[in-house]
């Protein structure tokens, strides 16, 4: 299977083909110019080599047409490459909505990953083939980076905030993942394996004996334990807005602006409750900074997401009305 001089790893995600195609396009374009210029240099070096000790070259100042030409042509090609690269990147940064969400926490020097049903893994990730997967990345200490070469994707894992990355595995198999942002002594061994399985196989694996609680019910328990439930009444009559249906919706804030309730917003609302105040409510929620672990935030987020499908009370949900005239 392995050639003595391997190059590209397998193309095992939806991005791999496109990333490699752009790579090859840039390679061909730059190779063309590099070979052209090299041949010109070699040609000139032979043709115009010095033939006598006191010989001088021609007296030429330059040529404006040539200058304009070799400014414009590379500019146009460069803009083309830029546009192609930007298209891939924007697609990569904006995840689709139907994803399988997996929480990933990096710490010196291991990865903790958790499946939607609560099954936890260390330095291992099992995912079904053909399904959009979103990784929600948090760090407990320094900056890490989650990198799967076979998928051609990576993203930094930054303490104090959530980053997300997504991909769709297209081939079953076992692939390396690495930490790709230097994080201290054992940076080089902070990696593991992604196992891409057939959906049925994945389902079987998922329901296998794990003993772990799924994050939604763990989150629900935390929701009571931290007394969130005393204010965030689901019927909207509490001191804080109901969270039913909030996830993914637009939330109207006290200053009149709106914000999409995504993972980052929920995380911020738990850690810095007063950064964004929902319209019609007082800034009375205490911060949970230092009281909840990254994992617990993940669980709470999973629980709040699960409320997405719950009936939204007419009053007290904090969700912005859809703009007039539309829908």
């Amino acid at each position: 299977m392995q050639s003595p001089l391997p190059t590209f790893p397998e193309q095992a995600s939806n991005f791999a083909g496109n990333v490699d195609a752009l790579f090859s396009f840039i390679l061909m374009t730059t190779l063309f110019f590099a070979v052209l210029v090299t041949l010109l240099i070699i040609f000139a070096a032979f043709k115009f080599r010095r033939r006598s000790e006191k010989e001088v070259g021609d007296d030429v100042h330059g040529n404006n047409v040539l200058e304009v030409g070799w400014t414009l042509i590379p500019t146009i090609i460069a803009i083309g490459i830029f546009a192609w690269g930007a298209a891939i990147y924007v697609n990569y940064r904006i995840a689709p909505t139907d994803t399988l969400d997996i929480y990933v926490v990096g710490k010196q020097w291991m990865w903790k990953l958790q499946q939607p049903n609560g099954r936890k893994e260390i330095n291992e990730l099992h995912i079904p083939v053909g399904r959009n997967v979103k990784l929600i990345l948090g760090s407990e200490d320094v900056i890490h980076d989650f990198y799967v070469p076979a998928f051609r994707v990576k993203m930094d894992v930054v303490p104090g905030r959530y980053n997300t990355m997504w991909f769709r595995p297209v081939k079953t198999g076992k692939y390396h993942f690495f930490c790709s942002q230097y994080c201290g002594t054992n940076h080089a061994v902070m990696g593991g394996w992604v196992t891409v399985m057939e959906p049925a196989e994945y389902a079987a694996w998922l329901s296998g004996e794990s003993g772990d609680v799924n994050p939604v019910s763990a989150g629900e328990r935390l929701f009571t334990q931290f007394a969130c439930v005393t204010c965030h009444l689901s019927n909207g009559t509490g001191r804080a807005p109901s969270l039913n249906g909030v996830f993914g919706a637009n939330v109207l804030l006290a200053d009149g602006s709106t914000v999409v309730a995504d993972e980052a917003y929920i995380r911020e609302s738990i850690l810095q409750p007063n950064a964004k105040i929902v319209a019609g409510y007082q800034p009375v929620m205490p911060t949970f900074q230092g009281l909840v672990t990254e994992e617990q935030i993940g669980n709470l987020t999973a629980y709040i997401k699960s409320l997405q499908s719950q009936p939204v009370p007419a009053k007290g949900a904090g969700i912005a009305p859809s703009p007039a005239g539309k829908k």
Binding site: Q272, P273, N274, A275, P283, V284, P286, T287, Q289
Partner: protein, 245 residues
Amino acid sequence: MHRTGALYGQFKTLEQQKDTATLGMWIFLVTEVMFFGGIMLAYTINRHTYFHAFAMGSNTLSLGLGGFNTVVLLASSFTMAMAVWSAQTSKKGLITLFLSLTIFLGFVFFGVKYVEYAQKFHHHLVPGKTFDIFYCVRNPAKCSDIDAADMAKEKEEIEAAVQADPDLNAHAQLYYSAYFGMTGLHALHMVIGAGLLFWLLKESVAGRFNAEWNNPVDIVGLYWHFVDIVWIYLFPLLYLIDRHK
């Protein structure tokens, strides 16, 4: 070569020498702008994110002392400008007088700054392990320099700020990081400026400066004005964040 003996070997004329020195100082001031720019950026971002903590921090500073220091520095800029003018018009006695006044005002500034810093140390407002924004309201006896009315007001403000930002103690540290970082850097520049002024004073007492040869006065003047201007920015940025209440 020249009568005053003030022309350095690498130059042809005094005019070239003066142009060179002036350009050099202006470019140096550009680097200073970039230098202060970095910390001002950090200030701006954090002030935007943690407005309540920054407002609370700002309210613990003394407007009276800060305002007084602003007047002192502006006055020192005036005396510095007069020193430059005296040099350009060869009024040798006046150069010495105005340089001395500038140095004096610089030291008044240091004195006031010392009082302010010492107060912050007593009130546990220096970033680090001992930082405690609530120290004075919880131990009023230890902060006897704050009078009762001010203390009551501070208590009220802190309570309001905690309501708005439960993590006030951490975020107020960011304010004090900015406060000590920015005023500390500024004070360091003042110390260097004062050193330069002492050197000028020595030269002027020796009668070195006149209408033909006054580069050093001119250039140190530029530097001194720059340091004043930095303070003109620092004063509102640090002292006046939330005084409109």
